[in-house]
């Protein structure tokens, strides 16, 4: 697999990670975390780890984000940092 896509997606991943932890709203964090998960899935797929990509897709998109939103729903969106 050509390295260009890999590198670009990796940088996207890092961007997503930084934004997810620095944004001042937990729901946004949840959503960005979903984006992070998408990127990760792409990254696994690029590196040929199909099963891992599948898992990450199903977990990251289907379950993890929903849990996150549910938790934020039941707690609060406010955060100081």
């Amino acid at each position: 697999m050509p390295w260009q896509i890999d590198l670009i997606v990796l940088i996207f991943v890092i961007l997503c990670a930084i934004t997810a932890i620095s944004v001042k709203d937990l729901l946004s964090t949840a959503i960005l975390f979903g984006a992070y998960s998408f990127m990760m899935c792409l990254l696994w797929a690029i590196m040929g780890a199909v099963d891992v990509a599948f898992t990450e897709a199903s977990v990251g998109a289907g379950v993890s984000t929903v849990f996150f939103v549910a938790a934020v729903f039941n707690t609060t969106r406010r955060t100081k940092d």
Binding site: D6, Y36, A71
Partner: protein
Amino acid sequence: MTDFFIGIMTKYNYWLYIILMMIGLYAMIVKNNLIKKIVGMNIFQTAIILFYISIGYKTNATIPIIKNAHGDHGTGAHKLIIHAADYINPLPHVLMLTAIVVSVATFGVALALSVKIYQRYQTLEEDEIRMRLREK
């Protein structure tokens, strides 16, 4: 100097995984909000998964599912000639499947805990919780 750059070029995956991991670790240590910490934790774990998957990758190899062996349950074993260099190392994938599962489980538990904490303290900020505890 050129060696250094060649080192980065050929191993940028490892460099970036370290950066990602450090982002997660930083969030876990510094962030005050519990959910932020949980996110940091997840990023941290994902970085390690990235590391493992990077170990397994081989250039010019295909995904670890044998081609042309559309297997059937119970009809004769194909004598295929398989070159190991053609397929990506499956072992890290296996390990990381487990690690992902573990991280999801931990994630769920951490969220459940934070919900429980919120029920009691009505806040997710660590310093506020500490303040409440001191008041008691």
